[in-house]
Amino acid sequence: MSREQAACISVRGVTRKFGDKEVLHGITLTVRSGEIFGLLGPSGSGKTTLVKMLAGIDKATGGEIDVLGIRMPKLQMLSRIGYMAQSDALYAELTARENLAFFGSLYGLRGGRLKTRMREAMELVDLTAHLNRPVSAYSGGMKRRLSLAIALLHEPEVLILDEPTVGIDPVLRKSIWDELESLSRRGTTVIVTTHVMDEAGKCHRLGMLRGGRLIAEGTPEELKAASGAASIEEAFLHYGGVRA
């Protein structure tokens, strides 16, 4: 493979309006196959709006989004994308196993294949012991991990995670990042939104969002070097037009 990897996601001049209010102003960026791409920005900067369009739930008002070479939104693409929303979208009265089985079967998993994937996904997020407990008895961090397991269940080619590590302790956060790294090595493209600056350093490449505009794109090192900053945080302030 060449140094410049193939584009997995291509976003060109995307705008999104809610009524008269434009919240994304002409975003253009490229996510390469198999990389971990971080969308960094404060809350309200448009991260969630952008990833919802990447995940095919929302439609851009203007501009184009291609995922794996196919124009979004497209229903068939949704089975190739894994999505973990910012809020834990789980059925609290059901057990973890029932939640997994439900979402798994929506993606067409069944029988032995579903069982294997459920076990693997739950091992990954370290919840195997709690498989049969109702989700209402889960802590916040456990719900977050179960949401992640559900997003991974059908082995998507593209994994979109909206603030995946909120409410997760540092030990588990590290193990989740290790897993994202290993998924990426196996060829899965991972898009992560975060507002935690030190987490951004673990991404292969970053897009910095502020006020609905992409203010910078590149590897953490490139961004730091180009702005002469010692940390991602300083770099963000630099690109945001604030001098440290």
Partner: protein
């Protein structure tokens, strides 16, 4: 099959949430029993106070099942009337009987008047010594002399309960799906919008069918509600009625942002339907309000249930109502699929 996955999930949710299941199935039976106890009592026996009334009149009043109390003075009787111990006073005024009614309860007024009139009529017949007084013979096209208020109300009530509880539970469940973010999560899967509506309809449909069978079976079997026609038709109408409630509830939940706002639809959507459902006689309603009765699903269901249960009518009498209910359910379901466009365009 993705619709099947939704159905299985809804069944599992009901199994874990037994309280909601109880609301859907046990509560209608309890309320129906209470109404039965209230309405199936014997006809009211009016309490009548007599002041210096000749004995024959008193006897005839008693014969017509009035509770007669004889008062020595008009004042005593007036006091009893004011204290609501009696419903009416009968006294003689210059040879003619005068009646004073307590007056605040129309049904008691009617009962007292009917008894007094019947007693006076008997007396008149005797006094005139007419040789051949032909009393009319009564026949009934439907129902019969023993039909109680409950018999007449129960077709409307079982329809109303099937409608109300399904509307509420389906509406709130679908709303929670939206509030909790699981709807958005569902829309991030390859599930089609119509599959969501179909899955909900089928999953809830299972429980509403169970409810329909239980409510109708209980009203007819246990409470002895009048049932002339075919029980199969009753079930068909009940099912269509709850299907309409299910689709209307889920559709309207798109216009509510909280459970509280969903509850606000009850006075807006359910209560007017109760008025038009046939619980009250609407012969004299203003014409400009009457058109409303044509857009209330509950009225069609209740009319058809009455036709079957009380009048013993068959398919030809209920076909129109059945198709209208089916049509309304389909319209609401289609509206549901469209309303989901708000959340995902494809």
């Amino acid at each position: 099959m993705r619709v099947r996955a939704l159905i299985v999930r809804i069944i599992r949710q009901f199994i874990h949430d037994k309280r909601t299941l109880a609301l859907l199935i046990i509560v209608p039976l309890v309320v129906l029993s209470l109404i039965y106890l209230v309405f199936d009592g014997d006809t009211y026996q009016p309490k009548i106070g007599a002041v210096q009334v000749p004995d024959p009149i008193t006897q005839h009043l008693v014969e017509h099942h009035a509770e007669v109390t004889v008062y020595g003075s008009a004042e005593d009787a007036e006091q009893a009337l004011a204290g609501r111990e009696i419903d009416a006073i009968v006294r003689m005024d210059a040879g003619a009987p005068r009646v004073k009614l307590e007056g605040s309860d129309p049904s008691k007024n009617r009962a007292a008047m009917a008894v007094i009139q019947a007693a006076m009529q008997d007396l008149a017949v005797l006094q005139s010594r007419a040789v051949a007084v032909t009393l009319p013979a009564f026949e009934y096209l439907h129902g019969g002399p023993d039909m109680s208020a409950f018999d007449s109300l129960s077709p409307v009530l079982i329809g109303l309960f099937a409608f109300f509880f399904v509307f509420l539970i389906a509406g709130v469940s679908f709303l929670r799906e939206r509030i909790s973010g699981t709807l958005e999560r569902l829309l991030a899967t390859p599930l089609r919008r119509w599959e969501i509506v179909a899955g909900y309809t089928a999953g809830f449909g299972l429980f509403t069918s169970l409810q329909a069978v239980l409510i109708a079976g209980y009203a007819v079997g246990a409470l002895g509600s009048l049932m002339v026609g075919s029980f199969g038709y009753v079930l068909l109408i009940m099912l269509l009625l709850s299907l309409t409630a299910l689709s209307l509830g889920t559709f309207l939940s798109a216009f509510a942002d909280t459970e509280f706002q969903m509850i606000q639809f009850i006075p807006l959507v359910i209560v007017p339907q109760v008025f038009f459902s046939g619980l009250f006689d609407l012969e004299n309603i203003s014409p400009w309000l009457r058109w409303l009765s044509h857009v209330t699903p509950l009225k069609y269901g209740a009319d058809a249930l009455r036709d079957v249960m009380i009048r013993g009518e068959g398919w030809s009498a209920i076909a129109r109502e059945v198709f209208i209910l089916l049509g309304l359910a389909l319209v609401f379901m289609a509206a549901n699929v469209l309303a989901l466009r708000k959340h995902r365009k494809i």
